[in-house]
């Protein structure tokens, strides 16, 4: 089966390690938090303030704010916009992201 990387004949630089709630995952240079998480099969990383329901990407272009995530202790980052750097610590976010 063809992957998107093969389709676009992509030759990214070496993958680097970031963490998702402490677990190490690989990311490619240029990928956003959301892209790296999709690439390892993770589609939700936030639970809502009211009902605690899981959410991930919805609009993919920074408009809906469903994909909010904590990166390096800064809550409420839009995962679909924020590019990853080696060593970044991604944390799933509960509620407002401010209550620890």
């Amino acid at each position: 089966m063809r992957t998107p990387l093969e389709l676009a004949d992509a030759h990214p630089g070496p993958a680097f390690t970031v963490t998702l709630d402490g677990r190490e995952i690989e990311a490619l240079p240029g990928q956003t938090v959301a892209a790296a998480l999709w690439a390892v099969g993770v589609t939700s990383w936030r639970s809502t303030r009211g009902e605690g329901r899981p959410r991930g990407v919805f609009c993919g272009i920074g408009v809906c704010f469903d994909c909010l995530v904590t990166v390096n202790d800064r809550p409420n980052q839009r995962a679909c916009l924020v590019p990853l750097h080696p060593g970044d610590a991604i944390r799933t976010q509960e509620g407002t992201g401010h209550d620890g």
Binding site: P4, P12, A35, W38, T43, F58, V63
Partner: protein, 459 residues
């Protein structure tokens, strides 16, 4: 400082920037994305080093022409600039932006003229289960694929209505996703009825038909998704046939297992910046004249912010705007003969856009499928039941009153996602929502802004 600040580096903004720069105008193009291109020509992140990005694109040669013309044109492209407001001042305009992706550091760009080329975003009408992870907008799946070279799952249903669904389905299929079904609410007969006006669009449609066939995509027209299933994430959808009135035909429901639903019901223009500048709107779009001028002197608009019509129309409008701006900034009356070809294609493409719009209405009775416990406002988790109560029991007659009573539309997205649904459920027309800023702005930035304004005022 620039003569012209263009907001949006999509086809409209780039065409305008190049046309104006060719006449000697100093141009700065501001865009929130990390690369120029806009939605249609969204580029893979440079770190991914894609050697064949065109495999994800259509009309790539047009993009190459734009891209290759930029370096020698003198046009400055400022990416990662999230514009939250454009202010008119005594000597022109100030474009206020936050540097991305963190969006804490403010920057300002001054210019004598402004072109709003901000494009649009997708409209998605709710249905039970639409907030489950695995349900994404059709354009969002496309954007993540084009920019990040990733897909959300292995087996997808692409659903809703509109011309965007075809490229999304074929794009995902080419990238290795199994497409369980392409579920289109419109009736292909309606497209044929509008055939004349769509003449320019149909060959493309035929091309897609061949590609759908090649990827063995099952096309279910006059069908809709009535429910998305799953607990923590999507596991499947129920699709059903629609009758000629756009109502679900009882007994036609069937279950389709999938881990991804890419769904969209057409597009809406970004109008916030135009609204705060005081530009007249025409319904949900920025009103412009033949030169693409808004009614505020010094402010032009082009592309999908002035009406949804695709990349070709955006290019034509952008070119015209760029020519008009160059002439007006030089203090001369523009000569429309200079842009006759673009004007001709604008006329033709606006006609086909209107026909497409008529041929792809959202299912007329979509709200009948929305159960009371369905979350409508995704940010504030307001249910359809709460919206209905606000209307039926508390007498709310417009979106603003519903918002005050329920908090629907008061969250992070400022009502962009739920606006059409709330209006539909309340039985009133969708109107522009007068957001004070196009982006949420950190309080510190606002305070500093106020401080500067006050100091200037007293000096």
């Amino acid at each position: 400082m620039a003569d012209l600040a263009v907001i949006g580096a999509g086809p409209a903004g780039l065409a305008a920037a190049l046309a104006a720069a060719a006449q000697g105008v100093t141009v700065a193009v501001v865009d929130s994305a990390t690369e120029a291109g806009g939605q249609f020509y969204r580029q893979p992140a440079s770190g991914l080093r894609a050697r064949r990005p065109q495999a994800l694109h259509h009309q790539w040669r047009t993009w190459e022409r734009l891209r290759d013309a930029l370096p020698g044109s003198g046009v400055r492209i400022l990416t990662d600039h999230h514009v939250w407001s454009v202010e008119r001042d005594s000597d022109g305009f100030t474009v206020h932006a936050l540097l991305g992706p963190e969006q804490h550091e403010p920057v300002a760009v001054h210019a004598d003229a402004v072109l709003l080329a901000t494009g649009g975003y997708e409209r998605v009408l709710p249905f039970p289960g639409w907030t489950l992870p695995g349900v994404v907008t059709a354009g969002g799946a496309q954007a993540m694929l084009k920019a990040g070279l990733v897909v959300p799952g292995r087996k997808a249903v692409v659903a809703g209505t509109g011309p965007l669904l075809l490229p999304v389905a074929t794009g995902l299929a080419a990238a290795g996703v199994e497409i369980a079904a392409l579920v289109e609410a419109a009736d292909p007969k309606d497209l044929v009825r509008h055939g004349r006006a769509l003449a320019g669009k149909l060959p493309e449609g035929a091309g897609y038909a061949a590609r759908l066939l090649r990827h063995r995509v099952r096309l279910l027209s006059r069908h809709t998704v009535v429910r998305a299933h799953g607990d923590e994430r999507l596991t499947g959808v129920t699709v059903a046939a629609l009758d000629t009135d756009g109502r679900v035909r009882p007994g036609t429901e069937r279950y389709v297992p999938c881990d991804t639903l890419a769904v969209g019901h057409g597009m809406l223009p970004h109008t916030d910046l135009a609204e705060t500048l005081g530009c007249r709107l025409d319904g949900m779009t920025v009103a412009v004249d033949d030169e693409q001028r808004t009614d505020v002197p010094g402010v032009w608009a082009a592309g999908e912010s002035t009406g949804i019509g695709g990349a070709g129309l955006a290019l034509a409008e952008g070119h015209i705007a760029g020519r008009s701006i160059a002439a007006r900034l030089n203090g001369t009356e523009p000569d429309p003969v200079q842009w006759a070809a673009a004007a001709k294609s604008r006329t033709k493409l606006r006609k086909s856009a209107a026909a497409l719009d008529a041929a792809y209405p959202p299912p007329a009775h979509w709200s009948e499928q929305v159960t009371d416990d369905t979350v409508v406002c995704r940010c504030e988790e307001v249910t359809a039941g709460a919206v209905r109560d606000a209307v039926d029991e508390l007498g709310a007659g417009d979106v603003r009153t519903v918002k005050l009573l329920t908090r629907a539309g008061m969250g992070w997205c400022q009502g962009r996602m739920c606006g059409p649904a709330v209006a539909g459920l309340a039985g009133c027309e969708l109107t522009p929502s007068r957001r004070p800023f196009a982006r949420p702005v950190p309080l510190g930035v606002l305070a500093r802004q106020h401080h500067i304004a006050t100091e200037e005022g007293t000096s």
